[in-house]
């Protein structure tokens, strides 16, 4: 780990050089400093009557600049460096070098971002002067910068991870922002676990550090730990992905850790919602039960990650076994225990944050049935698709659409034709046949019977399992390419 940040980290060094090296950094930083100091001096000259107010304004503005430089410039530099190495094929040359994945990702994170770091230090120094001159406590200014820096490093690691995984890293980021902004941030309100890591920007923002009496309260502490956890997970995922394209970012254990992290983030965010909520949003009408259900549904989607990993590894192992691989290795962990573990992790969410009135062993048991049925069906669908040539994402997407939203669509059409109202729709037994409906009935609507819904979901879960065992057990690609006798083994 020690060589991640070393100056002779080869990948960090080369991307630093490719970004222009010290020459470019010094010229940009000096130019930026001259511009900012010139603007500050000009604004003081234009309105010499209230220098304290102007400098306070500049301190706030500089913090905004810091955020822009560290997050936007930094993430963009990391993403560009990783994508460049992937698209040119240079990453394969790196993979042959005796550079560990940990060191390589360290290089990708710390090499291309040196420009942003130096600019940020310059802004920190200027901001320290303006803060002290405007009566803002220096420790508050430094604390705000420290929180921002921890957030920025987390975003750089996430950027490296996303860039290694997908081509459209920027597209995903833009999509997230659009989703967050659309509906006045309703996604952020429904998924508090998503809001918590970005709370230094949208919640109890770093700007509030500059107000008198601000302190490093529980919201910041929680988000700091969220950043550390998220960064570790993404770092490990990026490291695996760096080693070879076909490796899964998260194995079964990593995936379970990801699901646990989501559950922990959601619990912490729902408990501290007032501190982390977006400042522009009035969430007084939002019930924590609704947040629980939406977070639980998201947890079910996140739980697909370890199940996908376990299923993939299991199917690959069977494939090698059928090819009589002399170096087959130990049988990997089966997917069914992973399904149960993932369901147990998801179940922690309602167990910890559910309102006391709703939290009964019956409601937990019913939730467990929903979780296990869904994850079990996912496991078999993935096994079917990995064994054949169907795309897993397409099959899963269709399955989730049909089972989660199908009953709602049926009821929406029926209610539209009959002209019934919204409350009746939410309490409809047909809606209760989808996991969304059942969980809403259990945790939001209270005493509604969910027996029909649970029975339907169990039946639906059995369908992929039956299909899996009914289909012939031939792997995609085996026809016409079966194992032949060994090619001439030779030893010169």
């Amino acid at each position: 780990m020690a060589d991640i940040a070393r100056l002779d980290n080869a990948i960090g060094w080369v991307h630093f050089r490719l970004g222009g090296g010290w020459k470019n950094i010094i010229s940009t930083t000096v130019g930026g400093l001259v511009l900012v100091i010139g603007l500050i001096a000009a604004s003081l000259r234009i309105d010499p009557t209230s220098p304290t107010g102007i400098l306070s304004g500049w301190t706030h503005a500089l913090l905004g600049v810091q955020a822009g430089v560290l997050i936007l410039l930094g993430c963009s530099a990391v993403r560009r460096a990783v994508r460049k190495d992937i698209t040119t094929g240079m990453i394969e040359s790196h993979r042959l070098m005796p550079v560990s994945g940990t060191t390589a990702i360290g290089g990708y994170v710390l090499g291309p971002t040196r420009q942003a770091m130096v600019l940020s230090v310059a802004a920190l120094l200027v901001g320290s002067v303006t803060a002290m001159s405007s009566g803002i406590a220096l420790e508050n200014w430094l604390l705000a910068n420290a929180v921002l820096a921890s957030f920025a490093v987390c975003t750089w690691i996430v950027a490296a991870f996303v860039a290694l995984k997908t081509r459209g890293g920027t597209g995903i980021f833009v999509l997230l922002v659009v989703f967050a902004v659309l509906g006045q941030g309703i996604i952020l309100a429904l998924l508090p676990g998503l809001t918590l890591p970005i709370s230094p920007i949208v919640g109890a923002s770093i700007l509030s550090f500059l107000s008198p009496g601000a302190a490093w309260g529980p919201a910041y502490q929680t988000s700091f730990f969220a950043h550390v956890g998220l960064a570790i997970l993404c770092y490990v995922g990026a490291t695996r992905r760096y080693r070879r394209d076909d490796l899964l970012s998260f194995g079964p254990l990593g995936g379970l850790a990801l699901a646990a992290a989501w559950a922990a983030l959601s619990v912490a965010a729902i408990d501290n919602w007032e501190a982390v909520r977006p400042r522009w949003m009035d969430t007084s009408r939002l019930d924590s039960s609704t947040q629980l259900v939406s977070s639980l549904l998201m947890a079910m989607l996140v739980a697909i990650v370890p199940i996908h990993a376990a299923t993939w590894i299991e199917v690959q192992w069977h494939r090698r076994q059928r090819l009589d691989d002399p170096h087959l290795g130990r049988r990997p962990i089966r997917s069914i225990p992973v399904v149960l573990a993932a369901a147990a992790i998801c179940l922690l969410l309602p167990a910890v944050v559910a309102p006391t009135r709703a939290l009964t062993s019956d409601s937990l048991a019913r939730t467990a049935v929903v979780l296990v049925a869904f994850l079990f069906s996912v496991s078999y669908l993935l096994r079917i698709s990995y064994r054949g040539k169907a795309r897993a994402t397409v099959i899963l997407g269709i399955w989730i659409f049909l089972t989660w939203l199908g009953p709602w669509l049926i009821e929406l059409v029926r209610f539209g034709m009959l002209g019934l109202d919204e409350d009746e729709l939410l309490t409809s037994p047909i809606v209760g046949c989808s996991p969304v409906g059942t969980l809403t009935h259990i945790w939001v609507n209270g005493d509604l019977s969910t027996n029909l819904g649970l029975a339907v979901q169990l039946l639906l879960a059995a369908a992929p399992a039956i299909l899996f065992y009914a289909l012939p057990r031939r792997f995609h690609g085996e026809r016409g390419s079966g194992v032949r006798p060994s090619a001439p083994a030779a030893s010169p």
Binding site: A10, R17, L18, R243, H327, R484
Partner: protein, 319 residues
């Protein structure tokens, strides 16, 4: 140069290596071993699986089955102590075009942990070896394809790996470069490195390889020393070249009537044909030609070569 192979250490061992691309089996159960000082030429039509096999040995290609071992360690993603023993030059070496050749090699030297006090000397040495000393401080972007190819070779050899994999390394080199490259390869082979080279230039392989593997449709169809592969096939027959004093009409008809003569090719005053390897039979054929007043200037049995051996396998371009 030749040592008893059993005394030399096995540097590369492939055991039932199989690579799939979806339903396509790109490499099919390939097994062989190479020892220090072995230089294996990999030949075959486009799409035979040569590049995939080299990538599999380098650990860049996931295996559907089997194992590759280099110096006793299994090649796997992230096995940096094994991967450091492998040098691989792809057919189009990837370089950072914005860097100079020297800076690029400095990056490689840093990554391989070559001590700072050594790497200047080593970079200069390899720049000299690939004839790029005078271009060392030019940006790679400004260099020709052949020069980039040489930088790719220098990148591979700079860390001094005992196992070297070269995919069509001479493709971008000029004639003088090829000659120098051949000398370099012979020198590396004599240093005891295990080298696998994929190439379509069989005449070159004939000169410097110790072993040849002919690949088709993912499988190795022939493997052995150059002499074994070149001499393989019908041991009773060989090709002859007959040079006439002048182009002569009717020779083709005459030859077609001689029992055992086939694959006759006539190019003005030069005839090549396949016939019995027996000296008595060859003498009888020559006597028959002379008796028919064919003006034979020379009559030579060709030494077995790789091109012939390759053509004998009947491999056609993969669809």
């Amino acid at each position: 140069m030749e040592q008893d192979s059993s005394c030399r250490e096995v540097l590369v061992a492939l055991e039932r290596v199989r690579v799939h691309f979806g339903p396509l089996v790109a490499v099919r159960n390939v097994s062989f071993e190479l020892r220090g000082g072995d230089l294996l030429g990999l030949v075959g039509p486009n799409g035979a699986g040569k590049t995939t096999l080299l990538r599999a040995v380098a650990g860049l290609q996931p295996l559907a089955c089997g194992r590759v071992q280099v110096m006793g360690g299994t090649v796997a993603p992230g096995a940096i102590n094994v991967l450091r023993h492998i040098g691989f030059t792809p057919d189009t070496p990837v370089v950072y075009e914005e860097l100079t050749a020297r800076d690029f090699l400095r990056f490689i030297a840093t990554a391989y942990g070559i001590p700072t006090e050594d790497f200047r000397e080593r970079i200069d040495f390899w720049l000299e070896q690939v004839w790029l000393r005078e271009k060392a401080d030019q940006r790679i972007r400004a260099l020709s394809r052949g020069m980039r190819q040489r930088i790719g070779i220098a990148r591979t050899l700079l860390p001094n790996p005992p196992v070297i994999l070269l995919d069509e390394p001479a493709a971008g080199l000029d004639p003088a470069g090829r000659v120098q490259f051949r000398q370099l390869l012979c020198s590396l082979r004599d240093q005891g490195k295990a080298i696998i080279i994929s190439s379509h230039i069989l005449a070159d392989l004939n000169e410097y390889c110790t072993h040849i593997a002919i690949m088709a449709r993912g499988s190795i169809v022939q493997f052995g020393t150059v002499a074994e592969v070149a001499g393989a096939g019908d041991g009773q027959r060989c090709r002859y070249t007959i040079v006439l004093a002048r182009p002569t009409a009717g020779v083709a008809d005459l030859l077609s009537k001689v029992a055992g003569v086939n694959a006759v090719e006539i190019d003005r005053d030069r005839i090549t044909l396949e016939f019995s390897r027996q000296r008595e039979d060859a003498a009888a054929l020559l006597a028959e030609l002379v008796a028919q007043q064919v003006p034979v200037a020379s009559f030579t049995a060709n030494a077995p070569d790789l091109e012939e051996a390759y053509l004998r396998t009947g491999i056609r371009q993969v669809d």
